[in-house]
Amino acid sequence: MPDTLRPDLAIIADHVAPGSRVLDVGCGDGALMAALRDHAHVDARGIEIDAANVATAVARGLSVVQGDADVDLAGYPSGAFDYAILSQTLQTARAPDRVLEELLRIGRRAFVSFPNFAYWRVRMSLLWGGRMPVTRTLPEAWYATPNIHHVTIDDFRAFLKERGIVTEGAWFLSGDRLTSAAAANFRADHAVFLIRRSA
């Protein structure tokens, strides 16, 4: 895989089975899809809300449709993909729980990556600064951020447990470096989960 990929995308790319079918929800300009296509012969499809990103992705030869994860997943048949991927998009959804259910309906497995709102720098910013945090993984001010449903790693784990969703893998990143699962809710600035429906 090219080492120019964002770290969470690199983790996903490294764990997608070669030759599989993938739907990348919120695919941006298609960087992950292109890497999967070029290095793992993956049949990748994408959804992206931003027209300029879609144009870039299509111009690089990817099958990407302009759409919104909150409304446009319903048209996809169940089990149509080996993996559905939702990278750094969960926290921007109007109904993230419904998006996750759709993800697990369309894909046999799903990769989900998100910034961890319980990261210690975020906690410090709120605790000592009393201000909404602006960090490397949460770079926008409160009025400009697309992140409307902030979530922590422990929130996400609890959600999976509550819905009976199986975790097949989890990776925690701090400053682009893998960090251990222990105290990840405090130490990791973002997380990647590989999940599936229980059989």
């Binding site: 027209a51 302009q66 759409g67």
Partner: protein
Amino acid sequence: MEHDERFGHARSVTLPGPLALDGGQSLAPVTIAYETYGTLNADRSNAVLVCHALTGDQHVASIHPTTGKPGWWTRMVGPGQPIDPARHFIVCANVLGSCMGSSGPAMAAADGLPFAMRFPVITIRDMVRAQAMLLDHLGVGTITAVGGSMGGMQVLEWAATYPTRVRSAVVIASAARHSAQNIAFHEVGRQAIMADPKWRGGDYYASDDPPAAGLAVARMAAHITYLSEAGLTEKFGRRLQKREAVGFGFDADFQVESYLRHQGISFVDRFDANSYLYITRAMDYFDLAEEHGGLLANAFRQTATRFCLVSFDTDWLYPTRESRSIVQALNAAGAAASFVELSSPFGHDAFLLDVPQLNRVVDGFLRAGGL
């Protein structure tokens, strides 16, 4: 191939047919006027069929014989453009029912007189079947099909009717069916033609006095639907035409009136009123889902065709939601589909105009398909 009479500009072929039509009649022989650009490669993999819109023609990238103007899509087709004769073998055929040399109401029937209203009512699928006959004649097997507006309808119909022949499909500013509003505007145009006393039930060819006023009004009404309100406001506003004040009469006081009148008058020089009736009818009858048991996804089951759809944010004739419903059907069918809504001030006409993003998207899509 240089000496093959089948290839080049201003070509025409009369095929024996018969062509069985959706309306139940058949057409024999079938004449198709067309142009080709570039050279078909050895493995016949570089053919691009360009499908034209309602009032378009085969002169996609060559000088129009009547108007003397450049081809209607030189922004997309030509040297250095996404569809390039240096790399592609490009075919553009005048649709069935039109008036630029293909079989249509203006053409002579077996009795030597123009068909006029005796010409059978045709459909988009009939147009596509005629194009398939032409491609057989040219020795072209698989194609990439590209078109905007009614051209996009033909591309969709191509993919549904000949799925194994279409490698890639580009559908711009189009729809899988004509809406009530689309039909309504077309009906205004048809009634304007038929209300012109010179229409004479369609039998005006001998008179050399066609229903120009009716056809011009039809074109004026249609032309409004090709533009956006913001585009009209920006281009004309309420500005007056070569005068300081309104004339308290019914001359073209406003620039927009003068512009529309010009659009209408110049159109009648190059288009046949009966053809306008027939082609608008074909578009109104178009409903790809209906042809496939009421479910659009059925039109694309098992398809291996790659699709690229583009809509424009100011196009209210074939708005983005029409493209989006096609994309949903393609997703449901598991087809490889791309779709983007591009921003342009030009309304429906944007597909013919300078929208650099459109060329970028089409170029990338075609190249990714090995073209």
